[in-house]
Symmetry: D2
Subunit: 344 residues, 4 copies
């Protein structure tokens, strides 16, 4: 029998030295061999009923367009986080009052807007884009955009941005418009939709940017397509589901974010996937079971489905439910990181 | 000074032996060092006025659906060729009378139809596709298709196929439908247009085929888009020009053929390119100068612009001219074979 | 019972009028409903034994570099054709004597060279490329290239070009080098192979062209890889088969042509496909059954396998057979036109 | 003059309510309008001299293959972080003693190994991959891999993984091999390199995975290519630089990580970019100025260059410096998030 080798170091001493040397022993790093991702984010629903008043009160504490207050937006943060509705996406309500303008800026994070109440304009790269309830409006990464409200009712929409991801990637850049206020309009209203919205492409000036050239997907068109699609059947896990599509590639509307609209003729079966998302209730009421928790929702509410979390939707009886969804799936696809599981 | 070497063979004798050996001396093959392509095909216009009566007389000499006579089509052949309107494309008029059916078949060549008169149906893979004047209808390679005419006026359209190319590539396959007649309808009317025609994509069952999933690009939509686009200016060589687009890729409608619609607010400047095409007059009248030759045209006429041939279009004064165009550009792009020249 | 309708035209008269109108009745065009392609090209083998002397005699009837005689090449034409070894490809032997130069030119057809005898140089875009037996050398479309022979034995190689295809597409352009003779050398020998030949890519100056950046695939490397691959088994239809690959895309060496090297440990089972090809015997002897015809072959012979023609290879007993192959498969892939059948 | 409107809420009260409602006012979120990314990570160098002894002492406190201790690896964590050498990548030294084995597992993070000392084997998907100093070995995402050491000197390499990114994306999955120990060898040594390492691709069984099929880029080949490339000049910001390349795509070796080797004939000019990286000194000595801080380095040291941080390298005089680099550039490219700046 051999004598035990003489040790040159005790454990405590050794691990202290590693710490000083800015290295960690892999065999003591927690979670290294966990079979599945640990997801800190939790399911949560934000209710319109409670938040709409807070949004209006914001007009009392901040003036739009003054100092840093370029946007009157309430960002929903996951209860487990200081920032971010999920680990990659941030959603929230934004309000512009009649007569107000939100000055032009641009930034490397991309954004989508799902219109909830009132009507007004977002300007994107010189094109005035009309926003009406149910419309999806894009303000993609690095495009100049401002918001203008010539109407007479408050306009409120759901914002969706990839800021948590872009910041995490140390890739966030921001710039105010040189004008200090609004940008010039150099395109007619309806410009992008008329050029790209009908399976046709102008042969001149094909855009080189990585996002959809359509800045406004109108509710009327989208909803009609959804109803028609419903005639061809429904998917047990996703209902009747359309993706808003970049017509220049057939892919997602933004390189970082996918948007969908779903009609739910019946409760969906449970599924989970690595991609995370935020659902906004475009029409109807019901509840979802997310990570074992029941989230009740009505029109204009939105809720977070964190990564790798089981979820299913249950529309209220005799109610037409339409859900808008933003997803970070495009962040996973290039790397083969998406996984999915479905319950039968 | 050296004596000339003794030759073992005379030229005549030598070249005869090469011929027997099935080899040709490169240095005697004509055209090897020609700086530019020799194009045999010539400009030509086919006039509706003269051909429509011949199309109707065809009903006297052939019965649709009997024997090999599955289609009542007159194929325009370039005056320099036995077959083919250009070296890659064949165009022509096709007529179906009220009450007639053209039985279902499929083939490796792909086809497009630009509707000229009457109204009826083409069935594509189980979907009944309504055809009305100005519509572009696709029957892509290897799709089952038939034509049905429940209406009461003769329906006539312009056919466009890639048969000369596909035959030249020894890749033409043809199959009659097992039913011997029409295929079954298993999709509702408007199916493909409603699913893919508005910047939206169903998330289930994304097609894997290489052609556009839209089977019918409606005249109303296309023409309206063209008029709108006209407000943003015109290109001196191409006027106001839209490409019918595959919304799943942003590319051409068929892997072998591109289709365009152009509005010509003024005469275009001359251009030439390796791609060849056939233009059909959707609206208006005028003339084109093609390869130095004047081709006059009226509504429903069509004309061939051969490869590498200078051309320019001249609309008649005070006339709105809209040209439909099929082009073989997609056959050149994968190989970097397209070249273009434009006159200032 | 109805009386037969009065006909306004007789058949003969009618068809005559169609002919004048430059239209053909589809129902009388032969082959329209043929189930499979009609292939005019026939199997044929060109034997080195018979052609090598003819190649040498060519030096008696033409001087390289004089007049139009820029290349001393014998182009193998299919017995069914005036030009073209298959309908898309042309192959042939080319000879350069010691001390001779073939002046620089460039053209839109692309070319490959499979070296058979002697050693010398091809210059491609300023890079001198050493050619030794078994090497594959590329002179892609639109690259300046010349041939130089500083050695002391005649150099002979197999040419392979896509000229029949490019001419058929009316896309052939040709240009002599402005120098009138050779181009300047501005890169060292081995330049392209060292930069791209080992799974590595220089980060600066990534080429934008559509062909492989490697100009010379050396026999030693290729043959060694083939022998190694043989240890992992063989495919019953293709033996042990490698494709020469564009390391910037993982695809074919030229956009129009694919090149392969196969080791045949045993007779292959029969197959056919729409793509056509030319095989050259790099090593060994045997025969192939092509379209029912037996083609015997020895080293340096080459033979045509036309489109959609059954073929199988039978190596002679106790002989190592290596076949080089050029194929027009890349011309079919972008359009989904390839089809394959294999016998079990 | 109007009286000030009566406020329904005080600021303090209001912001408290927002907090309860899990929303944050965008106008008070710090950094929202920062023009450039705030990067928490700092420059740092890990010195071989100090860490090698710690690595050997690790053999005293942990036994390889016992319990969770599957790998004897010291993970370098950025001084600003608990985990991660940069915000996306983790690097570190790993040691296997003669006779030891590190059991097989697989995980969704991908890994690369740059070999520093000794020689041994990594098995990847059944292929034994020889590791010798200077070799780059891949163990891509979701591939079974183990390490074996039949030699007689300790083997040490630099690990590089995308774990911080994959965990941040909630996409980390881990699995021990069913055998509980090593996997079976079912491919010969040199298998992947011989199949894909020379510009050739076997026509059978083309891999569908998104990573390079070459598992071992040998130092001899890479270094020779680098020296050759040096003859063609140097880039003022990057020296002579090669990317290890996926021969099936021409792209990065892993979908999440790029690897490079650079020769530095002279000091480089300063640059910064959003992508972050870790450099390891393959040969020579010198220092880098990173974020204004001087980092001295010798052979086998490695150092972190955080995102958007200026850096330049200064080789010691009369020393050949070769740097290996791993970069997270592939994580930015799909989203258009990379930006670069260079000093002249």
């Amino acid at each position: 029998m051999n004598a035990a080798p003489v040790k040159s170091v005790t454990g405590a001493d050794y691990y202290g030295r590693l710490q000083e040397a800015r290295v960690a022993p892999l065999w003591r790093i927690p979670g290294t061999t966990d079979p599945e991702p640990g997801v800190a984010e939790v399911p949560h629903v934000w209710r319109w009923r409670g938040l709409e008043p807070l949004l209006h009160q914001a007009t009392e504490v901040m003036d739009l367009g003054v100092d840093e207050a370029d946007r009157r937006a309430l960002n929903a943060h996951n209860p487990s986080r200081v920032f971010g509705t999920t680990h990659t996406l941030v959603a929230g309500y934004q309000l512009v009052l009649p007569g107000e303008n939100a000055p032009a800026h641009r930034h490397s994070p991309g954004a989508i807007r799902f219109m909830l109440a009132g009507a007004g304009y977002t300007t994107v790269e010189g094109e005035p884009v009309l926003m009406e309830p149910g419309d999806l409006v894009l303000t993609p990464a690095n495009t100049w955009h401002d918001h203008r409200h010539p109407g007479d009712e408050p306009m409120i929409w759901l914002d969706g941005l990839d800021v948590p991801f872009v910041k995490q990637m140390r890739a966030n850049f921001y710039e105010d418009h040189p004008s200090g206020g609004l940008q010039e309009l150099d395109k007619p209203e309806g410009y992008s939709l008329e050029r790209y919205g009908a399976g046709l492409t102008p042969t001149a000036d094909r855009p080189a940017h990585p996002h959809s050239p359509i800045m406004n997907y109108k509710w009327g068109t989208t909803y009609a397509a959804l109803k028609k699609l419903a005639e061809s059947g429904t998917d047990p896990h996703n209902g009747v589901k359309l993706e808003y599509t970049n017509p220049l590639t057939g892919g997602h509307v933004l390189p970082t974010m996918a948007c969908y609209l779903s009609l739910l003729p019946e409760p969906t079966k449970a599924q989970r996937h690595v991609s995370s998302g935020v659902f906004c209730v475009a029409r109807g009421s019901g509840h979802s079971i997310v990570g074992g928790e029941r989230l009740d929702w009505d029109e204009k509410d939105f809720f977070a489905v964190p990564a790798w979390t089981w979820y299913e939707h249950v529309p209220d009886p005799d109610t037409e439910v339409v859900l808008f969804e933003m997803s970070d799936l495009p962040l996973l696809e290039p790397f083969g990181l998406q996984r999915k599981e479905k319950r039968a």
